[in-house]
Amino acid sequence: MKSTVIIFPGSNCDRDIANALQKYNFQNKMLWHNETELPKTDLVVLPGGFSYGDYLRTGSIAAKSKIITEVIKHSNKGGLVLGICNGFQILIETGLLPGILLRNKKLKFISKDVYVKVTNKNSKYFKEIKQKVLKWHIAHNEGNFFANKNIIKKLQDNDQIALKYCDASGGIKQDSNPNGSIENIAGILNEQKNILGMMPHPERAVNEDIYSNDGKFFFESLLT
C-alpha cells in the first residue's frame, strides 16, 4: 500500500508514523505542506504534533494549508485519510469530520496509556482486528470530543464511531474516560468510512519490548 505523510510546521509525530508505516511495509513518502500536488497514494496521513504551535485553535491554521485542498479531493474520490491526534484536530477544522475537540476535562495535558475498544470493524482501518481491546498511548491537551445530540445520533446511526476509551477488560465506563470525551469517543469515521480521526497513537506501540505492541494490529489490519 502507498502512503503519504504530510509534514506541517510543528508536526512532531511525522517521523514516528513514517517509521511505523515502513516497518509494516507501506511504501511511504513524506510531503511538505506547501506542496500543491499529492503523489499517487492510497493513504494520506496527517500526523500528530503541534502544527503552528497549536496557536489560535488546534489544527486551525494547518487546515488552511495549500495541500489540504488536495487531501479533500483525494478523500472525495474515496481515498483513505488518517488523522492521528493533531491530525484528527486538523480533519475537524477542515470539516472532513464532524464535532469538535475541546480541552481535556481537567484542563491538563495528558500523556498515558489507555485502553480502546474498536466499535466499528467495518472500515478498512479495523476490519482485521480481533483483539477485544488495544493498549495505546494518548498525549494531548485537546482531545475531549464533543458534538451535539443530533451529530452524535447521526454518528451512531451511521456506525461512524470507531474507537471508544475503555478499561482493560473492554468495559466502557466513566472511569476509563481520560479526557471527558462524550460517549468515551476516541476516534470517528466519516460517513463513507474512508476518513478516520483518532486521538491515540498506534505508531508509538510498534515494538515488542516497549510497553505495548498493539499498534501492530492496526497497521497490519490497514495493510490487508
Binding site: P9, G10, Y55, K108, F109, D209, Y211
Partner: protein, 728 residues
Amino acid sequence: MKISEKIIKKHGLTLSEYSEINKLMERDPNLLELGLFSAMWNEHCSYKSSKKHLKKLPTKNKKVIQGPGENAGVIDIDDDDAIIFKIESHNHPSFLEPYQGAATGVGGILRDVFTMGARPIANLNVLHFGEPSNSKTKNLLNGVVSGIGGYGNCIGIPTVGGETNFDESYNENILVNAMSIGLAKKNNIFYSKAKGINKPVVYVGSKTGRDGIHGASMASAEFDENSEEKKPTVQVGDPFTEKLLLEACLELMKKNIIISIQDMGAAGLTSSSIEMSSKGNLGIELNLDKVPCRELNMTPYEMMLSESQERMLMILESGKENEAQKIFLKWGLDFSVIGITTNTKNIVLKYKNKEVANVPLKALADKAPVYDRKWISHKLPKKIKKKVNYNGYKIKDIFKKIINHPNICSKKWIWEQYDHTVMADTFIRPGENAAVIRIHGKNKGIATSVDSSPIYCESHPLTGGKQIVCENWRNLVSVGSTPIAITNCLNFGSPEKKEIMGQFVECVQGISDACNYLDFPVVSGNVSFYNETNGRGIKPTPTIGGVGKINNVKKIMTCAFKKENSNIIKIGKTEGHVTQSIFYREVLGIKDGPPPEINLFNEKNNGLTILELIRKELVMAVHDISKGGLIAAISKMCIMGNIGAKIYLPKKLISLHNYVFGEDQSRYLIEVEEKLTNDVQKILEKNGVYSEIVGKTQNNNLELDKEFSISIEDLKREYFNWFDKYLN
C-alpha cells in the same frame, strides 16, 4: 555619556572591576561597551567565583569526546553515535513568571544541545519548590509544570524523568533545572570556535525584541523586595519557532557549510559573538543595522543585550550564504548576514555607519576577574548521643507517612503532563530508577536520571556532594546501564558569604571525589549563585544528571516485582543510619546529626556486582534503597509490579525503626528466582558483597514480619494520591 558610579553598579560591576576595565581598554568605555563587559563579566558567563574550584572536577574518561567549555558535553556511545547533554538552571525567571520562566528554560537547554548537531531525544528536569503550605507553592508548581510541558510537548521531545522536592528553604526562590540529551553522529558535531577570517557571521531564528535585557545579570543578583520591578527581564517562549529552528539547523548541518555555531542564550548576541570569535583567536565585526528587530528604534545597546529566545549565531563558509538562506526561508525563519570575522582580535560594532563599540576580545572573554572567595569548612555534625525514644511512633504509621510524603510519593501528576513517549523510543518511562531511551533503529540505548540531596548537602556538604553522584550512579546501574558521565547544575546562595562559599567548595570536592572514584566525569554544567531572598539562602542544591549506556534494550531492568515466591535479597549492609533521614526530619522533627556515610569502595563494588547480575540475567527486578529506607524501596517494587512481599526481620536486629527507615548508602534490593538464588549468592560472595535475604514476594499484601500487613491497593492509594489531594 559619562559613566557614573550608579551606572556601574546597575551593571552589576564593582568599582574595582570598572577600573580594571579602564586599564584593559586604556580609556573609559562607552555605555554599550560597559554593557558588553557587564554581560561577559557577570557570574553567569564568567564563573568568576566558581572557576577556581570547578577545576577540581574530573572531566575526562575514555568515552568523553568534549568536556565543559562548549555549549554541552559530548560522550561516545560506540559505533558512530555520540550523546550530547547538559543541565541548566532557570531559577529566577521561573519564580517571577513560572510558566514562561520554565518554558524558556527548556527552550534554552534544547538549543544548547541541537546547536552542537544533535537531535534532542530526551528532556529531564529537577524542581525544588517551597513547602506545600506556602501560599505561592501551588501556583508555582502548576505554572512550572505547565510551562515545561507546554514547551517540550510542542517541540516533540519526550520528557522522561525528573525530581521534585518541597522544602521551606525554597519558599521565595524555587529551583528549575532543565536537562536535555541529544543524539549526533560522531563525525558531525558542531563547536562554537570560529575559524578563518572574512567569514560571514549569520543571525537566524526569531527577531530581536527588548526581552530580558540584562537577564544574565539578573540571574546573578539576589532577590529583594523590589524584584517585582525587575520584571521585564522575563521572556516569552515560542516553542513553535524553536521547533522550526531545530529542523532548519539540523537540515543545514547535513551540508558542509557551518564553521561554528552557538545559540544566543544568556546575554544573547553579546556572549555568542564574543565567545565564538575569542575561542578562534579572531576578531569580529557586526553591523547592527542588519539585526532583525521586532520593534522600532532599538538601540545597539538593546540589540546586544536582548535575550529574545529562539535565535542562533553561525559562522558560515564564504559564498554559502544563499544555500543556507534557502533552508531558513523554507522554515519561515529570519536569516541575516550581520557581520564578518576579522583578524583584529577586537569586537567592533557598527550602527548607522558609525563605529559604536570597539573592545579587545581578550578583555571581555578571558580577563574577567577570578575570585578566590573566602570560605569556611563544614565539620561533620556530631552523632546524637542520647537514645531517641520511638515510643508512640508505630512502624505502620510512620511508613504510611513516608510513602505519602511529597518528596517520596509518586510524581505521576507531574509527568503525565509531559509527553514522555513521543519519538516512540522510551523503553523505561518516568517513575522508575532511571529512564531508558533506545537509539532509534538499534538495539542499544541510554539510561538517564537526575538527582539532588539538599538535606544531606546542607548537613555536611562534602558527604552530600559524594552522595548525589553515588545515588545517580546507582540509579543508572539499577536499570542495567554502564554509567558514563554526568552534567551538573550547582545551585547555591551568595558566594560572597563564606559559609555558603564553603558549602559550594565542599560539595564540589565531594562530587569530584565520587566522580574520580567511579570514573564518572563531569562533561558540562552550570553554576547558579545568589539563590537568596532577603539574605536567606536556599539549601545547597547541586543537581546531577547522569547518562549511562545500555548495550541491549532487551536486557533492561525495572524495579517492579515480576512474580510471586521469589527471594528478595538486599545488597549492602544496613547499619541503621537515621539522622538526616526522612524518618528523623519529617516524622520525629529531629534535624541534627550527620548524613549517612559514603563508602566509595562499597559503592563501586556493589554497583558493578548488580550490573554483573543483570547481564547474566539472574535477577528479575532491581531497585536502589535511598530516601525513606528499606521499606520505602520495597513498597515501590510492590506498587510497580502489583505484587506483594513478606519481609522478615534479621535475628540480630539493631532497632526495628532504624532497620526499616535507615538511609544507609550503597544498597540495592533484587528479586531473584528461588532456583537461581544459589548462583546469585555465589557471585555476591565471590565479589565480597554483603547481602541478606530479606523476604519473599507474594500475592497482594506487603507484610513486615508481625508489624503490619497492607494491601497493594492501599499502598497505591498512599503512594499516588498526594498531588491530587493537594491540588484539588
